[in-house]
């Protein structure tokens, strides 16, 4: 990113710093293995409310696995995950969603047979109370809910500037827009904690700038705590408050972007020569 934008980014970071609250997510000594392969070894870190936490590291370091553990898709063999003080190791992804965790995926997990609007509306499913009978009759509570949630979803759609494609089937959209729709779906759930798995993978510079802007806006506007996996170091340094560095399933660095950038172990494993 260019110099002026980096300065602006840092100013915003300073402003955001005072908003950051207490610990919302605590990962304690988590170990995860698949068969003989150890994906994560005794990883511990925390995430504070309203902050943007990045997880970085070389490929195969266990970043996606870490996200999957937080999200309930994988269950760690050892260690604990604590969300807002509540322990949950054996919760599955469905329960994690109920607890206010939303996420996007590395390979886009949109529902290819539906339109953008429908996809984002599915993000509201946990908030819908009407039974299927009421929905069939399109009466009373079902009808009201449908309109209410449509309104909420349209706000998210406006926010992420995808109004013009709301009725397009997602399969027809270019990759960058699909990623944005996936973000919209995650946001529609009004999550406490948002997990983003390489949200900028495969994007060109412009798309990355847009996505950065959106992520920061989400953090500013909604106050959502964000944990993201990212490879672009410029992005990471710019938008994150704190960074965790993983390598071969172990944590080798934890701190502010500047601290991590100067950490020798991190430089050796991942960053290369310090700039």
């Amino acid at each position: 990113m260019r110099e002026t934008e980096m300065t602006e980014g840092r100013l915003q970071a300073a402003e955001r710093a005072h908003r950051i609250g207490g610990v919302i997510l605590a990962v304690e000594s988590v170990s995860l293995s698949f068969g003989g392969v150890k994906a994560l070894s005794e990883v511990s870190f925390d995430v504070r409310e309203h902050e943007v936490r990045a997880i970085i590291g070389p490929n195969g370091a266990g970043k996606s696995s870490m996200l999957n553990v937080i999200n309930g898709v994988y269950h760690p063999q050892k260690g604990t995950i604590r969300l807002q003080g509540r322990e949950f190791n054996d919760m599955d992804s469905h329960e994690a969603a109920k607890m206010g965790i939303a996420r996007t995926f590395q390979n886009i997990a949109l529902f290819k047979g539906m339109t953008v609007l429908d996809n984002v509306m599915t993000g509201r499913n946990l908030k819908m109370r009407a039974s299927f009978l009421e929905q069939a009759l399109w009466y009373g509570r079902a009808r009201r809910e449908e309109l209410e949630h449509r309104r909420a979803v349209e706000e998210v759609i406006d926010f992420l500037e995808i109004q013009h494609i709301r009725k397009t089937p997602v399969a027809r959209l270019p990759y960058g827009l699909q990623k944005r729709v996936e973000l919209a779906r995650a946001l529609a759930a009004e999550p406490k904690l948002l997990l983003l798995d390489e949200p900028m993978a495969g994007m060109n510079l412009e798309e990355k700038q847009d996505m950065c802007r959106f992520i920061l806006d989400v953090n500013d506007h909604y106050g959502t705590t964000i944990v993201l996996i990212e490879h672009d170091m410029g992005v990471v340094m710019d938008i994150s408050d704190r960074v965790v560095v993983l390598d071969y399933g172990r944590k080798i660095g934890d701190g502010t972007p500047e601290e991590v950038r100067g950490n020798q172990a991190v430089i050796d494993a991942y960053l290369g020569v310090a700039r």
Binding site: V73, F105, N107, A109
Partner: protein
């Protein structure tokens, strides 16, 4: 509980199972090589048997009739690959499965228009009578024909196993079954491979058609043997040749036993659904079958 009767039922069931395996083998071949679950396999069996028997009745020599039918099956395989499979190359499995359902209707219609719809008898020279020396010695009746069918199946399986694991073509087939794109990228000619596979499957269908036709007559009901093969495949796994045999034995045996020992208690006729319910129960415990490969869902 009469022990020799039990053995008779068991043996009869096992051998009936071998007959199912013959049909299941055709499914496995095609699934192994192209990932397509070919619902039309039963129709292929029917078509092969009908073609062969009509030529026999027309006075054609036995072995010549076999050769001609084989040629017909090969040509059919080529046509099916070109017209049905190639246009659907990247579609999900379900789509291909439904296409083969459509294909089965087409094949049955064509067979009956060309060769008519009356039942035909088929004589292979081996009678469906108990083996005398066995019945005399042990009071167990096992049909000569069933044993012959088991022998044929055994030879066929051995030949196929050798083909798949020892020949170059067999290796190419296994590569294609694993990953079409990867196979293409190392230069394996996909179209030729699929043609070979469908031809071999056609041959297997012919053998199955001969066996089943000799036992039950060549008639429309023959198409339903395919439906019997499905539980066999579930038990044995869709990609496994030994699985087709083992699955067939299990299904055949349990079906006969259930019919004889459980049937009278519930009014009989349970062989129409028992194999399916058994397969279903098995699926719940082990979705990939005895020999199949585990299915992993990655997000």
């Amino acid at each position: 509980m009469n022990v020799s009767f039990f053995f008779e039922v068991l043996a009869g069931g096992l051998l009936a199972g071998v007959m199912y395996s013959l049909v299941a083998l055709g499914f496995v071949l095609i699934y192994k090589a192209s990932g397509v679950f070919n619902y039309a396999q039963g129709s292929l069996v029917f078509l092969a048997a009908l073609c062969f028997v009509s030529m026999l009745e027309g006075g054609v020599n036995f072995w010549l009739a076999i050769l001609i039918t084989l040629a017909v099956m090969v040509v059919l395989g080529v046509v099916i690959e070109r017209v049905v499979l190639r246009p659907l190359v990247n579609q999900p499995q379900i789509t291909l499965f439904m296409a083969t359902i459509g294909l089965s209707f087409v094949l049955e219609g064509i067979s009956q228009i060309i060769w008519g719809s009356q039942p035909h008898g088929l004589e292979l020279g081996i009678q469906d009578v108990p083996m005398e020396w066995l019945s005399e010695k042990t009071n167990i009746n096992i049909s000569q024909f069933d044993l012959f069918a088991a022998l044929v199946a055994g030879v066929l399986v051995a030949a196929l196993a050798v083909f798949f694991h020892k020949t170059r073509v067999g290796r190419a087939l296994r590569a294609v079954a694993d990953d079409h794109q990867a196979a293409l990228s190392v230069g394996i000619p996909l179209q030729h491979i699929w043609t070979i596979v469908w031809a071999v499957a056609g041959f297997v269908a012919l053998v199955a058609g001969l066996m089943w036709g000799a036992r039950n007559g060549v008639q429309y009901a023959l198409t339903f043997v395919a439906l019997k093969a499905l539980p066999v495949l579930i038990l044995g796994g869709f990609e496994s040749i030994p699985g087709a045999i083992v699955g067939g034995l299990i299904i055949g045996a349990s079906e006969k036993m259930a019919e004889v020992y459980l049937g009278p208690a519930v009014g009989g006729g349970i062989e129409s659904w028992f194999p399916y319910v058994l397969a279903l129960a098995f699926l719940l415990v082990r979705p990939q079958g005895l020999f199949g490969e585990k299915i992993i869902d990655r997000v």
